[in-house]
């Protein structure tokens, strides 16, 4: 393992320290917690938006804290959901009396820890609502199982719920908008190489020189299928086809997110986007706006994910709203 670290059990602490030092003009760390909050949190009269998860997904989630997006991000150990008490601190730091919405990615750990935090917050008299993002079409959506995972499409939930909250909407309205995004966003990813969790010291999985893993999650979990390395166009087609098969995008306008998993050169992401745009064009799906870059990473994993969000007028307006978040300026 070759990493720029001081000590494997201090990575989160030191990252948070470096992060708030770098961005002290817009964010703050709630003392003795792993919570990054807007500098002006709680914002009076505004619904608080709290998300988070394990670390290792940078710029998620601290990079999405700022006016127009999240009020707080709660950070756990690498790839490990934060604990209920930390999430509770995030909730308390952002509640201005208008209630708090938790944006949770659908992983057992995240759901349980955020649930427990919500219970604790309710016990303290804070109104909390939750939405659970499950955009990953690689995983089957079934009520008998854990259901689909939440991956990069979550960024759109942050952005749109953030804009709606900024407009002064009520907790119920912000939640409804977030759920509309969740209903309309689908994603899927692929890995060419694994990442290495610092404390584990060895790669999470191993692929052969000519193999890729289709349908990976964002924690180095294995995907659904190993296939031979194909051309950029072929891999992209596989992912896009799977996404398009899941909900009907016909004649719609979409936002596109081509997300690098950590080590993929941006050059390759643009080559992927080229094919995404081509396929959508052929299907008569109109691209409203595109983001290409690293938005929800898995440490230094090589690979990418594609997310498509089906838009309506409300979502478009919210997507265009101003954002001061460090990793999503608009």
């Amino acid at each position: 393992m070759k990493k720029v670290l001081n000590s494997t059990d201090q990575v989160v602490e030191e990252m948070l320290d470096g992060f708030v030092t770098a961005h002290a003009d817009s964010v703050k760390r709630i003392p003795d917690t792993t919570v990054i909050a807007r500098k002006d949190a709680p914002v009076s009269g505004k619904v608080g938006l709290v998300s988070g998860g394990g670390s290792g997904h940078e710029p998620a989630h601290g990079g999405y804290v700022g006016k127009g997006m999240l009020d707080a991000a709660v950070v756990g150990e690498v790839f490990t959901s934060p604990t209920p008490d930390q999430v509770l601190e995030g909730i308390k730091a952002t509640d201005s009396g208008s209630g708090v919405l938790l944006i949770i990615k659908n992983y057992t750990g995240d759901v349980m820890n955020f649930d427990m935090a919500a219970e604790l917050a309710e016990a303290e008299g804070i109104t909390v609502e939750k939405v659970i993002v499950n955009d990953d079409v690689a995983v089957e959506d079934s009520t008998f199982t854990t259901g689909r995972r939440g991956i990069a499409g979550t960024v759109f939930v942050h952005k749109i719920a953030g804009a709606i909250a900024e407009s002064g909407a009520s907790l119920a309205e912000v939640k409804a908008a977030a759920e509309k995004v969740i209903k309309n966003v689908r994603s899927m990813g692929v890995a060419l190489e694994s990442c290495t969790v610092p404390a584990a010291g060895k790669p999470s999985f191993t692929l052969k020189e000519d193999e890729v893993e289709i349908g990976i999650g964002i924690h180095g979990e294995p995907g659904i299928e190993r296939v031979p390395l194909q051309s950029a166009n072929e891999i992209t087609s596989t992912l896009v086809a799977k996404i398009l098969a899941d909900i009907d995008y016909t004649n719609s306008e979409v936002a596109v997110l081509v997300n690098g998993m950590g080590a993929t050169p941006e050059m390759e992401l643009f080559i992927v986007h080229r094919q995404v745009a081509k396929m959508l064009g052929e299907k008569g799906i109109n691209i409203y706006k595109t983001w290409v870059g690293e938005y929800m990473t898995s440490l230094e994993m090589t690979g990418f994910s594609i997310s498509l969000l089906k838009l309506d007028d409300q979502l478009k307006e919210a997507l265009d709203g101003q954002s001061d978040a460090i990793a999503f300026r608009l």
Binding site: D9, G54, G76, E77, V78, F79, T80, S81, P82, T83, P84, D85, Y107, T108, G109, M112, N113, M116, A138, V139, F144, T145, T146, R149, V197, A199, A200, K202, S204, F205, G217, H219, G220, E221, P222, G223, I224
Partner: protein, 206 residues
């Protein structure tokens, strides 16, 4: 007859930590195969915190020790295993509140822990999770009076082996479908170490 004293309970936590330390890499490797590769790290970190907490606290009852462990696991582990084990130990603590720990009460406590995991994780038996091991442990305690605690270890051991053959329907391993077959569930393994640690202190002369 009291089967578990405060001293033994403290020792139980220390024995768990010892096992998590020794098997940290094994648990992480199991989790790399069908999860996200942090289970050993989570468990070792969590029980190190538990031991730390316990070393700095005085306890009057077994329930208090277990409650300390529960709170610490919940607050320090995160992930899926943090809330699940936190809940399990909290439910045990509650069940043993103001009670001496004889076999009957302990059996009830394990039943409660089992219910806690089920409630928190919405798991059923046979979904290839830690629930399977707790389920077997509870079933074992239900069977008459225990003569030889080693048999508890064997029951748990067998369950672990059973998880190997299963498809998972809860937790991260569920994403893998058929590909999870052939791999032991990491949470079942760490639960096994907990019961193994328990037996090692139950058999202690105190």
């Amino acid at each position: 007859m009291i089967i578990l004293t405060v001293e033994q309970t403290i020792q139980w936590m220390k024995e768990i930590h010892k096992r998590m330390e020794v098997n940290k890499e094994q648990l992480t490797t199991l989790d790399q195969a069908i999860g996200d590769g942090d289970h050993g790290i989570n468990m070792e970190r969590g029980f190190a915190e538990v031991v730390d907490k316990i070393n700095n606290t005085d306890y009057d009852t077994v329930a208090d020790v277990l409650k300390s462990a529960a709170m610490t696991l919940t607050a320090k582990v995160g992930g899926a295993s943090g809330p699940l084990y936190g809940t399990a130990f909290l439910k045990m603590a509650t069940a043993l509140q103001d009670k001496e720990v004889n076999q009957q009460n302990f059996k009830v406590a394990i039943d409660e822990a089992l219910e806690g995991i089920k409630m928190r994780g919405k798991a059923e038996f046979g979904e290839k999770t830690m629930y399977d091991v707790w389920y077997q442990a509870a079933a074992f305690l239900d069977s008459e009076k225990v003569e030889d605690w080693q048999e508890l270890i064997e029951a748990c051991q067998a369950t672990i082996e059973d998880t190997r053959a299963l498809i998972a329907t809860k937790g991260r391993a569920s994403y893998l479908k058929e590909r999870a077959i052939g791999h032991v569930d990491p949470g079942s393994m760490s639960s096994f170490y907990m019961f193994e640690a328990l037996v090692s202190v139950l058999e202690l002369e105190v």
